[in-house]
């Protein structure tokens, strides 16, 4: 099956890193399931309404399977227990070998497991944003989380994007969004700037319109 525009992502660990990652992915329109061990934390996650929540230990196959890995695209193991993260990624790969695995690690262990999983993230380096970048791949890269709310991203316009080949003035962007730079960041964007497939543009957006931006520029 060709890849869907919206990924199905399983996040193991609903701590601050997991939740923040879920928020950023949800803003971009992806589908999420969070597996979290602590019951109180689960009800807190439930109130956020960004993901389906499975309560339990993600390293157990019977719990992990409840997150529907057979129809998922990515597993991100983001608990603060590094060996558990490795176990979750290994189990995920073993049970469903088409899953892309992303593992949270720490500076002490570093890249030691890099060959065993598809991507490794360090929380020390703005962990949530890095996790998002690793999950999505290189086509959409968050630059910085300004003032906690606005997102500034570098977005590569895809071949399948509705806005591909159009000038900025011909594209109906939602308010709360701003295309800042020309491709490759060489000039400030103008109304006649053309959105070319394969080129990268710097875009700023309020969290609630990021999904619409993704649909216009990524398809």
């Amino acid at each position: 099956m060709p890849s869907r525009p919206d990924l199905h992502v399983i996040i193991a660990g609903g701590g601050e890193v997991g939740l923040r990652t879920a928020h950023l992915l949800n803003d971009r329109g992806h589908d999420l399931t969070i597996i979290e061990r602590d019951a109180d934390r689960c009800s807190r996650l439930g109130d956020e309404y960004v993901a389906t929540i499975i309560q339990g230990n993600a390293t157990l196959p019977e719990i992990f399977e409840q997150a529907a890995p057979q129809s998922a695209d990515v597993v991100a193991a983001l608990t603060n227990d590094i060996p558990a993260n490795l176990a979750i990624c290994m189990m995920a790969k073993h049970l469903h070998d088409n899953l892309h695995t992303v593992m949270r690690t720490d500076t002490e262990i570093g890249d030691a497991h890099a060959d065993l999983v598809d991507a490794v993230v360090y929380p020390e380096r703005a962990s949530a944003l890095l996790a998002v970048n690793a999950i999505i791949g290189g086509d959409v890269r968050a630059i910085e989380d300004v003032m906690g709310e606005i997102e500034i991203m570098e977005v590569r316009v895809s071949e399948a994007a509705p806005a591909r080949g159009k000038t900025l003035e011909d594209v109906s962007f939602p308010s709360g969004s701003l295309v800042i730079s020309d491709h490759e960041g060489s000039r400030i964007a103008r109304p006649d700037t053309v959105l070319e497939a394969g080129r990268r543009y710097i875009v700023a957006a309020d969290p609630e319109v990021v999904d619409e931006i993704m649909r216009l520029l990524r398809g």
Partner: protein, 461 residues
């Protein structure tokens, strides 16, 4: 200068707004057009038809509430079924649910046309209003609303709330005047002559479409404030309030006009009842015209709701690669799911032209009933296969509630089909067409994958 967006993004919906999304979609053509037909089948027992349909719908409403509180996706029934069922079942669910909304749109458009002609005739008796003209007005209203929705994403939240409150007020004015003059004898006997309690079942199936619409709340969940609490609340409040309004209206219609005259008036039954007892109103004239005005208003807003609902289902299927990709894309020029809206329009227009009005109602009811059976099944499967999933709203009396939902919806579907070969054929035809599309898309995807694999192998070598 950098290019800043100026199109309004989707609004956030309060509990009242969300409730009105449900009520707005439910109170459409159903109550105005189908009450007469229900009286024709069941006599004064038509009142029970609406009571029992309310009960049946509540079972599925509980299932929707549980699913919506646990699964934060805006795709409605399709998204929930997609979560737990195979590609094939979830495709069919989307295929049937989308069609049910589209064909409900055809019913609302035809309901609009007959009421519109009636309304204009009050002022312009010479206005053309033959059967062909009805179809033309129905086509025009669909084209108008589709055009509006295809080129504009203007947040409909607030406006929809006002429109819905106006239609509720019109029905309450009707009921208020009527309650004073209801003849209790009109309900004696409840089932006259050869009619029996069994006649309720086909009448329930036929009018079921008037109870569909609360499910639209689950297509906008991500825009609702405090969703985990407000979505189940909005589902229940909209269901209970709508059933209450229906009961008042049907009680008054039968109590004032009598079941026989109501049945004879058919699609314009409620308006005839209003003419019989309401005083003259300045500008509008007799009570009938107020109700006809309410019906014109209601059918347009309900049509608007199903245009959005059907395009949302097609859009969600397009994004899941279950329908061709353009259906899952928003238009760069307008910011709307343009192709999904256009595809819904084509089906609505074709249905208006080729299906008689009673058939349209039946086919739509049938697909809602089948879809609701699958939604109830989803609750049971999710409870069994994902016991650890968080369910902020857990329905009481599980598993009896979804089991009864499946059983009762199934019985209504059976009675709907029992004496109606055309509905059965249209239903089977649509499912067969869907199966063809599903396998064609699957083959296309599979051959695409093989090509990719061959290229990879070649580049490795």
């Amino acid at each position: 200068m950098a290019q800043s967006g100026d199109r309004a993004p989707a609004a956030s919906l309060s509990l009242l707004d969300a409730t009105m999304v449900g009520m707005g979609a439910m109170i459409g053509a159903g109550i105005f057009v189908l009450t007469g037909l229900a009286a024709d089948i069941s006599g004064p027992g038509a009142l029970l038809v609406f009571v029992l349909n309310g009960v049946v719908t509540t079972f599925t409403g509980l299932s929707y509430a549980e699913l919506a509180s646990a699964i934060p996706k805006s795709g409605g029934g399709y998204a929930f079924v997609r979560e737990i069922f195979s590609d094939w079942i979830s495709f069919l669910m989307g295929w049937m649910l989308g069609f049910a909304y589209m064909i409900a749109g055809a019913l609302y458009a035809l309901g609009f046309a007959s009421n519109f002609v009636e309304f204009v005739h009050i002022y312009l008796p010479a206005f053309p209003g033959g059967a062909t003209m009805h179809v033309i007005y129905a086509l025009l209203v669909i084209v108008g609303l589709i055009a509006l929705n295809a080129v504009s994403t203007e947040a409909s939240g607030g406006a929809e709330t006002v429109v819905t409150i106006i239609k509720i007020i019109i029905l309450l004015i009707f009921a208020g005047f009527g309650l004073a003059v209801v003849q209790p004898d009109a309900f004696q006997p409840l089932f006259p002559e050869q009619k029996t309690g069994w006649s309720l079942l086909p009448a329930m199936g036929l009018t079921f479409i008037a109870f569909e619409g609360y499910d639209l709340i689950t297509t906008v969940t991500e825009e609702v404030e405090n969703p985990r609490e407000n979505i189940p609340k909005a589902i229940f409040i909209s269901l209970i309030a709508t059933v209450a309004v229906y009961l008042l209206v049907v009680f008054v219609a039968i109590g004032t006009l009598g079941a026989d005259e109501l049945a004879a008036a058919g699609e314009t039954g409620i308006a005839e009842a209003a003419t019989s007892f309401m005083p003259q109103i300045p500008l509008l004239g007799g009570g009938g015209s107020l109700v006809v005005f309410g019906a014109v208003f209601s059918t347009v807003s309900a049509l608007n709701a199903v245009v959005l609902a059907s395009s949302r289902v097609l859009f969600a299927m397009g994004r899941e690669n279950q329908l061709p990709a353009p259906l899952g894309k928003i238009s760069a020029k307008y910011g709307t799911p343009f192709w999904a809206i256009l595809a819904s329009a084509v089906v609505m227009l074709v249905s208006v032209v080729f299906l008689p009005i009673e058939q349209v109602g039946r086919v739509s009811s049938l697909f809602f009933l089948i879809s609701f059976v699958v939604v109830n099944l989803s609750v049971i499967r999710l409870r069994q296969e994902r016991p650890n999933m968080q369910r902020p709203f857990e329905m009481p009396l599980y598993p009896y509630v979804p089991a009864l939902g499946i059983l009762l919806n199934g019985i209504l579907a059976y009675y709907l089909l029992r004496e109606d070969v055309v509905t059965l054929l249209v239903g089977l035809g649509w499912i067969a067409l869907g199966s063809g599309v599903f396998w064609a898309l699957k083959r296309r995807d599979a051959s695409g994958d093989e090509d990719a694999a061959t290229t990879d192998a070649a580049s490795d070598a």
